[in-house]
Amino acid sequence: MNLRKFAPVAAFVAFMAAFPWMVAPFDAISHYTDVMVFAGIFCLVTIGLSLLMGFAGQISLAQAAFFGIGAYASAILTGRFGWNPWAAMPAGAAAAAAVAWIVGVPALRLKGHYLAMATLGFGVIVHIVLNEEVEWTGGPSGMVDIPGLSVAGVRVLSETAWYYLVWTFVAAALIFSYHVLHSRVGRALRAIHEAEKAAEAMGVPVASYKVQVFVYSAVLASLAGSLYTHYVTFLTPSSFDLMWSVRFVLMVVVGGMQSLWGAVLGTVFLTFVGNEWLHVFADFEVLVYGGILLAVALLVPQGLVVWMQEKLSRRRETLLPRSE
């Protein structure tokens, strides 16, 4: 990794590490750390989705369902069966992985609108089950008093502690995903997106790779769910409905599907827009939210971050004129 490429990464890590301290003194934005905790949790979901949708080209409107499976698995295992949260987390991830595999095998044979509809249908079914199985999930009135999380005996309570815990998970997921992308597996995924028939002819087992990346995105979403459970200590099915799946897709698309940074920055941007900056519009909030999305989808289809990257790279070296 030459220095030039490494510098922006180091700068970003430094900024993120110092973020809670920079924000604390200013009253008006002192609560931004809380928003960043939620943004970090959502980043875990969108990093997996970015690999699945941006790189392998398979849309999924079910991420909120896997987010919910992880959340409720952790809540039930720790709340009702007294498991240690750190054991419940991988168990939830395993459950989400199994469900993702069962649904993924038939669903990922489909393409485009059909795949979107299949994942959407599955997501809504999970939401209905969470709503109806009242004895396990507390149903629509939710589950209360879910135990918190403690690291090495110390209960993670303050926002800053949660911030560092969540963003360590995000960093780990980013590094793991970055490595996957820059390996034969990553190249195979991108090949599937660009010319599926050719990838299959070159020996890439397309069907199984699609399911693998779908399971990977489900595992990340489940881990995010477990963190969310212990942070909010209260769950209602409405936090895992179709609208949240749509929001996760929008976060990846707005940020830019062709880069992991696009997913992360897009998520942070939309989390702040959704929870913070739009309050000034009050009743017009929904209208402005829709307007932003439409503008980005129409004017900057490749996403904000990728658009900025292109602007920067275009200054540095010119590309050969395309032949077709």
Binding site: F176, S177, H179, V180, S183, R184, V185, G186, R187, A188, R190, A191, E194, A195, K197, A198, A199, E200, A201, M202, G203, V204, P205, V206, Q212, Y216, L319, L320, P321, R322, S323, E324
Partner: protein
């Protein structure tokens, strides 16, 4: 970069009564043919004769409605393309199917996929064996780029190459899978004469390495100069097969190409590649 050894001199590919039906249309009617090892086998025939369909059946993109295909002694007519590729068969496509946004080098590296093993976890954790394998993939891919003469374009996006170079790149990618059998689907389509000559020379070098080549092509000049055997398809059926000289003189072949109004005594325009 050795192609997998195949024991005896058995034919590399055996087609038995291969039959292909799309709804009412019969694309291939009972084809029986054997391709010996190490030769350049061309398949020619007028448009719609079923050349590409046959290639798709052999490579697993399509499954024949009836009949058996055995490759290196193994039945493959029901196998998915990625498994056939693992057995040692690779191909190019009539309309170039590259990965446009990936670099030239990365396209060829995907070719190495079938010959390498590290999985999702190994990739994510960058285990030592994975890193060693990645280095090998890089070396092999560059070697194949040198072999086809595209080394200098390694870091350009594949989509940025002119058509001629894209065709060559697709061959390099196919070669990177260390195939025992290479299927080329109209590689000369859209090339000028100089590029076609280079292509012929490249196919010769591929043959020298012991790789069997099946060439579907319209450019008669190219076919006649580099083919060891030629199979002529006509409306989904084999019309004739043999060495280039026999095919040149074969009246039925000429008839098939020129349609009914030609009569044998007008000479064989096919000879000087006018088609």
């Amino acid at each position: 970069m050795t192609s997998p050894r195949f024991s005896s001199s058995d034919p590399i590919l055996i087609l038995q009564d291969v039959h292909m039906q799309f709804g009412g249309v019969t694309a291939l009617k009972g084809i029986r043919y054997q391709v010996p090892r190490g030769i350049v086998q061309s398949i020619i025939g007028p448009n719609g004769a079923g050349k590409t369909t046959l290639l798709n059946c052999i490579s697993g993109v399509l499954h024949p409605t009836e009949g058996r295909i055995s490759f290196l002694g193994r039945r493959v007519e029901r196998e998915p393309p990625h498994r056939i590729a693992a057995l040692g068969m690779s191909r190019t496509f009539q309309h170039v199917a590259l990965f446009p946004q990936m670099s030239v080098l990365e396209n060829v590296m995907v070719g190495r996929h079938v010959r390498t093993r590290s999985g999702f976890w190994a990739a994510g954790l960058r285990t030592r064996s994975m890193r060693r394998e990645e280095a090998a993939i890089g070396r092999d891919a560059r070697a194949w780029l040198d072999f086809v003469g595209l080394a200098d374009a390694a870091h350009l996006p594949a989509g940025a190459l002119p058509l001629g170079k894209q065709k060559i790149l697709e061959i390099a990618r196919a070669l990177a899978t260390d195939p025992a059998l290479l299927l080329l689907d109209e590689p000369a389509g859209g090339l000028n004469t100089r590029e076609t000559e280079e292509l012929g020379e490249l196919i010769g070098r591929i043959k020298e390495r012991g790789t069997t080549v099946i060439l579907v092509e319209h450019d008669m000049n190219l076919v006649m100069t580099i083919s060891d055997r030629i199979l002529v398809l006509y409306y989904g059926q084999p019309l004739a097969s043999g060495v280039p000289d026999e095919i040149k003189e074969n009246p039925e072949v000429i008839q098939a190409y020129l349609g009914d109004e030609w009569t044998p005594d007008e000479g064989a325009p096919i000879m000087n590649g006018q088609l």
